[in-house]
Amino acid sequence: MADLKKFLVRRLITFIPTLIGATFLVFLVAVVVPADPARLWAGGEKADPRVVELLRKEYHLDEPIWVQYYYFMVNLITNRMVSPVTHENVWSTILERLPVTLQLALFSFTLVVAVGVPLGIIAALKRDTIVDYLIRAFAAIGMSMPIFWFAYILIFVFYTNLGWTTLAGNPTPAKTITGLPILDAILLGDWRTVCQIVERFWLPSLVLAWPSIGFVARLVRNSFLDAMSADFVEYIIARGLPKTTLYKHVLRNALVPVVTVLGLIFGGLLAGAPITETIFALPGIGMLMIQSIQNYDYLTLIGGVFFIGLIYLTINLVVDILYAIIDPRIRY
């Protein structure tokens, strides 16, 4: 456990430079674009010069990049950063959008695990049969299918023709407990809202999960086969242990690489899905970032980047800890 503490401290120390690096890069890109942000924010051509001047002062736009960046970060972390475009606190905007993104990520992740992992295991058990070939083909197609095209086909089938999904609104139960609508609805026993949420989210989640399902299926298949061909399998059979014991050992060994990838996939899903959220009009963090880019609201954009970086690093940390729990060979 002392090892774990040291490990956490070490990881926290690398956290900060990583976050600074990521946000600074985006900041740099935003700032070098030859535009006058203060004028844009103040209303473009007809902007009141006094307001422009005020904005320049407020956001230190006349000072060197790193000074701008410094003030920006300090304001962001102390929660005093207000977007000049939306006039809202950046953190509040992000946190407001979080439930949608989190919900989408949870649904997608459930699909990835519930479909990808079993498909991979079936493919491995039925290796080199028609079932295996079909699953592998499905995985390859899933991974290479462009999401926007695929999404519109599905919308056409399930919304336009079948009406099995809704494409607008963001259903929430009457009361908030945790802030996550689906969880609150379940806690309140509000099954109507649960149904509405599922109806609204299943299709975008499927679209978002699709490439990862194929990827995970392929990974699980290969690592399962690797584990099956390990020498300890032969020794388990030689000891006369039953199939259930054999598969228990094989599965746990096969899961070691899968857990890492699943963790990264979850991080990726949480990091927002700009395309999916935009197509399905889901007001999540991905959509927020697209809107910020369109409005030249780079302060909100970088707030988003900072938030995503934070999530990504945290999930990485959790994955590393999980990894050490499954695999005793891993040392902190």
């Binding site: 390990a230 020498d231 300890f232 032969e234 020794y235 388990i236 059979i237 030689a238 000891r239 006369g240 242990l241 039953p242 014991t245 050992h249 746990r252 060994n253 070691v256 499954i326 695999d327 005793p328 060979r329």
Partner: protein, 334 residues
Amino acid sequence: MTGRDPIIVVRDLHVYFYTHAGIVRAVDGISFTVYRGETFCLVGETGCGKSVTAKALARIVPPPGKIVKGEIIFYPEPGKPIDVTKLGEKELERIRGRLIAYVFQDPSAALDPLYTVGYQLAETVKHHGIVKSFKEGFQLAAKLFRKVLMPDADERVKAYPHELSGGMKQRSVIAISLSTEPKLLIADEPTTALDVTVQAQVMDVLKRLKEEKNLTLILITHNMGLVAEMCDRVAVMYAGKIVEEAPVDELFKQPLHPYTKMLLQAVPDPSRRVERLESIPGSVPNPLNLPPGCRFHPRCPHALKRCREEEPPEVYVSPSHRVVCWLYAGGRRG
């Protein structure tokens, strides 16, 4: 040698691998008998089919390998034969581990890296009904680890394989394999993967436990020194066939088959302090494409015309010494 009470009788065993490249005739018609209580050795160069033969005995040959022909009669008790080739999967599970146990070459690979060695012993004895719970299994593990002279046995039970040295891993494998009190132990090059210094210690443990538990041991090895030290009878394999079988003293004193002679020459004689290893010229034939006639003829210094064309006969030069070679076909003695 103990009585003439056979524990396993193999007759005309054929094990083929059906690969994309063709049929690999890894074991191609071998017969031998192992008697209760003895140590029987299988020797031969790499790839000659020793491991496949060993795995066939409890039917653990991996696919695409198949026993295509032959009988394996196993006598768990004297006079109670079981034909292993005719058993179903459930009956095999009862024989494996419980009656016929294995120790493989590489203990690092044989153990699951994600479970403690004690757990792997406990799950084995629990499954075979030797103990009732995992807790008792762990207690038994500690006891057996002391038996294989594992240092700090009580602590090592809780160790993961990667926390143990090669020798300690092989000791735990031996403890696991013997935990079910099998009748027949098949040790496939049990010390090859270990440091020279630990090899002797591990072999000592095996030898002592064999005596103590009145086990029958089938030992597969490249090491002629080990053969001389451990074995009662030896079978020499070449390209999927047994070419000679004899009691160990006789084989060393009077090897008949040219291949056996070469094998023995290839070993530095410890009494003469020869440093040079006379390796055998040529190499084992490709099992996909075996030469006609005697499989050894391309490398044999005494090859006759007939060796290239006809399979050699099995000649018993004495009731316990047989050789498969044209040189002895006329009842002539080497």
